[in-house]
Amino acid sequence: MPERHPLLPYSYLVGQEALRRGLEIAYVMPSVGGILISGERGTAKSTAVRSFARMMYGELPVTLPINATDDRVMGGLRIDALMRGDTEEQPGLLEQAGEQGVLYVDEVNLLDDHIVNLILDVVSTGLLVVQREGLDKPAIPVTFTLVGTMNPEEGTLRPQLLDRFGLLVPISAETSAETRNEVLKTVLRFDVERAKERSGWLEDGAALDRAHRERIAAAREAARGMPVREELTILCARIAAEFELAGHRGEIVMAQAARALAALEGREGVGEEDVAGVAPYAIMHRRREVAYGEGIAWTGEDARRLRKVLSGP
């Protein structure tokens, strides 16, 4: 039975290693609190998220498009039933995301402020309360991994929403001729293969994805019981202090993401290299300058400061 929306197998994605690793970390350790992918146009952000979700959850992610209305976000009554005079409840996207485990918001910086507030309410309290259109449902506990993609050319997000994404991964277009060449060949081959009744290439991709999924699922199990040594939690706190992060979420996310990275790399314990590997993604959107509307970026100077902290007091 052919898929309704066949997607490029995740294992066939070309380049964008940071993006892929970020998605994997957010899955392995849900307490990281999701991921925001910020990148210029044409960088395969949406493709990567959808392919990853299909690989891990077996279906497309629950997706909140920028044209969503509040009744579909929160849930309400079925309009076709209402027209018949019946009342049938219709779960909203937040509830559906709670069931699947992920909520994907494409072009999150183009969302209406009102919709952003609805998401913030639920993400910050972990409870979905539907009291609208005559409905008065008891609060539903809802947890999901928030995955957002955005093009920073259209402006950034409010600091409150930025902080709700555990990690921020900035990505840019692949510019090497070799990688662009590889992207072209892969995508155009996919165009052709997907039209076939049966494609060995896509079957191979699906097999690679299954193996990939098993590795990531195993990493998720391993990460759960992985301790973080005290000196590493202190290191996370020192990094947060060096970069004057607002609040404590930055260091907590850093430690959790380091556990996920260690598990994905097959290590038995968290090391300094894991903290160093995830620190930029936990830091850059929580710095105070972000509140002043300045750009979110990881500069050479930032890398130098991080190295200085890592090299010890």
Partner: protein, 581 residues
């Protein structure tokens, strides 16, 4: 190829491949677009529709137009771009530069997307978008279009000379059954070569490669070669057109590059159609050699005649934003601005009648009971049904002044900046003033700022008459004005369309930014204050919708500091009245 032939070839490729979903016809007169779109609809198949998106299209028009059916029992969903449950059609945008924000957002969601989602007003649908979007735009207006939208229209064709050619008279092209050929390694390499140095994400590469694939399919090839890429690049204006010497068969020409001949479809003639089983001919005929004048190196992308004029240095006009505007509750602005949508009403003003009635219609049977349909009475309406218009804000202008009182000669500022003050008055601009180095400041390490609704606010005049202090926290002053400009012009809810920044200073900042923010006096004064000011100025220089001017106070020592600041701000340097030449 003439313009009509090139455009027709591109349309045929788009009909073959749904992924060629965004085509921009540069300099095509808007009134001709519908005819071209009709041709593409015809190529897609019988009965395919053209839907036209104008500048007034709202979210409701696009996604879910509710039409209560007779009897009130059912309703019809008929969004212009909601492409599920119907065959692929053509969405025509007569002028991309004036497309409504709602339509631009829809384009970003749909053009070239693998999956689209609709989650509006009780509907939950996902589908694979197959509509082809065809847009026109004048080259000089391309800079006003959001780069995000332009990226979706990677296929570009110059249509400036398409004045009288008729598309509705063209013969049908038998496209059904044509399989997409494989891309050769040489073709992939040629795409990267042609667009070398001009890649802006993958869509341009993919667009050119897919257009080349379409050309190869039309020519009956089973593999896309580098030559097909060259043909596509010439159609788009990425390569100069070759000199054509012979036309071996009707409707087909032969060009040669690197010692090879290649048949180029002009507009696929009926006699070259696939056979009854849908198979296409193996190879195009290869005939007489020809002289080819096409260079192997790509023409400069971004230069005159480039298909990507947005890569050229802009004209200073900011591209439009895709963010929904937030309606500011400024006094006296209710009911102004054109309608761009509706929302839950919070006041009984500016009620959107039709959306309100439609909202109420969904509840009638429940409120009235089973006899509702047969009974003749008005709708049952409650407060929760009320919807009000969401309106575009009135364009606002902002004058931002940074006045460094320590730079002297305050009385002479008036003459130099007088014309800009008159502009601010005439435009009823909001005025934001940042004062640096005021002798009576609450904290001499910090600049102070206020915003006035207009130039007539007495605080503005008073700001020109301060006594100079000892410290010059120029960096802090610039950071304050940067925040204001960012907030007013860059964020999604920005309503300011034109901001003018005037900085009056000698550039000699002597308070580092950290000292201003911590309010701790620096141990020594070095260049840090100047460097910090330049750093903040560079950030301001990168803002859109902001024009900057720096007023030079005249001959003095370290006069280059003002010029440096102007450079950092990308500002025009105005000679001050104190300058005697």
């Amino acid at each position: 190829m003439n313009d009509r032939e090139r455009i027709d070839a591109v349309l045929a490729c788009a009909a073959l491949d749904r992924r060629l979903g965004g085509i921009l016809l540069l300099d095509l007169a808007p009134h001709r677009l519908v005819e071209v779109a009709g041709r593409l609809a015809g190529l897609l198949g019988e009965g395919r529709q053209v839907r036209v998106l104008g500048s007034a299209a709202t979210e409701e028009d696009l996604w879910a137009r509710l039409r209560p059916a007779p009897g009130g029992r059912s309703w019809v969903v008929d969004g212009l771009v909601a492409g599920y449950g119907r065959p692929a059609g053509v969405v025509a945008v007569p002028d991309l530069a004036t497309m409504s924000t709602a339509a631009a957002r829809a384009a970003v969601m749909l053009v070239g997307a693998e999956v689209a989602h609709l989650e509006r007003t009780g509907q939950q649908v996902s589908w694979r978008p197959e509509d082809r979007w065809l847009a026109a735009c004048r080259r000089e207006d391309v800079g006003r279009v959001s780069p995000h939208v332009l990226d979706r229209f990677a296929i570009r064709v110059d249509a400036a000379n398409l004045s009288t050619a008729r598309f509705d008279a063209l013969e049908a092209l038998p496209l059904a059954g044509r399989a997409l050929p494989d891309l050769s390694a040489g073709a992939a390499g040629r795409v990267v070569e042609v667009l070398a140095g001009h890649a802006r994400g993958a869509r341009r590469d993919l667009g050119l490669a897919r257009l080349a694939r379409g050309m190869a399919a039309l020519a009956g090839a089973d593999t896309v070669l580098a030559e097909h890429v060259d043909v596509a690049a010439r159609v788009m204006g990425l390569l100069a057109a070759p000199e054509v010497v012979a036309a071996p068969v009707p409707g087909e020409r032969v060009v040669r590059r690197a010692g090879q001949e290649l048949a180029v479809p002009r507009a696929l003639p009926a006699e070259r159609a696939g056979d009854a089983a849908g198979r296409v001919r193996d190879e195009p005929e290869r005939l007489a050699p020809v002289v080819v004048a096409a260079p192997d190196v790509p023409d400069a992308v971004g230069g005159p005649g480039s298909p990507y004029p947005e890569d050229e240095v802009g004209d200073g006009r900011a591209p439009s934003t895709l963010t929904l505007v937030w309606q500011r509750a400024l006094p006296g602005t209710w009911g102004h601005g054109h309608v761009i949508g509706d929302r839950q009403a919070h006041e009984v003003r500016d009620i959107a009648v039709v959306p309100t009635l439609l909202k109420a219609a969904t509840q009638q049977a429940r409120r009235c009971g089973p006899g509702h349909v047969r009974s003749a009475h008005p709708l049952h309406l409650t407060a929760s049904d009320l919807r009000s218009h969401r309106r575009a804000p009135q364009p606002r202008r902002l004058l931002a002044l940074v006045l460094d009182h320590t730079s002297g000669r305050q009385g002479e500022w008036y003459d130099a900046i007088g014309p800009y003050l008159r502009w601010a008055y005439a435009a009823r601009a909001t005025v934001s003033v940042v004062e640096v180095g005021d002798a009576d400041a609450a904290d001499e390490l910090c600049a102070a700022a206020f915003t006035a609704r207009s130039l007539l606010d007495p605080r503005v005049a008073a700001a020109f008459e301060r006594r100079p202090g000892r410290a010059t926290p120029l960096a802090h002053g610039l950071s304050l004005v940067a925040e204001t400009l960012q907030r007013e012009t860059q964020q999604g809810n920005a309503a300011v369309t034109d901001a003018l920044l005037i900085v009056v200073t000698d550039g000699r900042g002597n308070v580092p930014l950290a000292a201003s923010r911590s309010r701790r006096r620096p141990e020594r004064v070095g260049r840090e204050g100047v460097e910090d000011a330049l750093e903040v100025a560079r950030k301001i220089g990168r803002l859109n919708r902001v024009r900057s001017l720096v007023l030079d106070p005249g001959p003095r020592t370290a006069a280059h500091l003002t010029a440096d600041l102007a450079d950092a701000l990308r500002a025009t340097l105005l000679p001050g009245a104190g300058r005697d030449g």
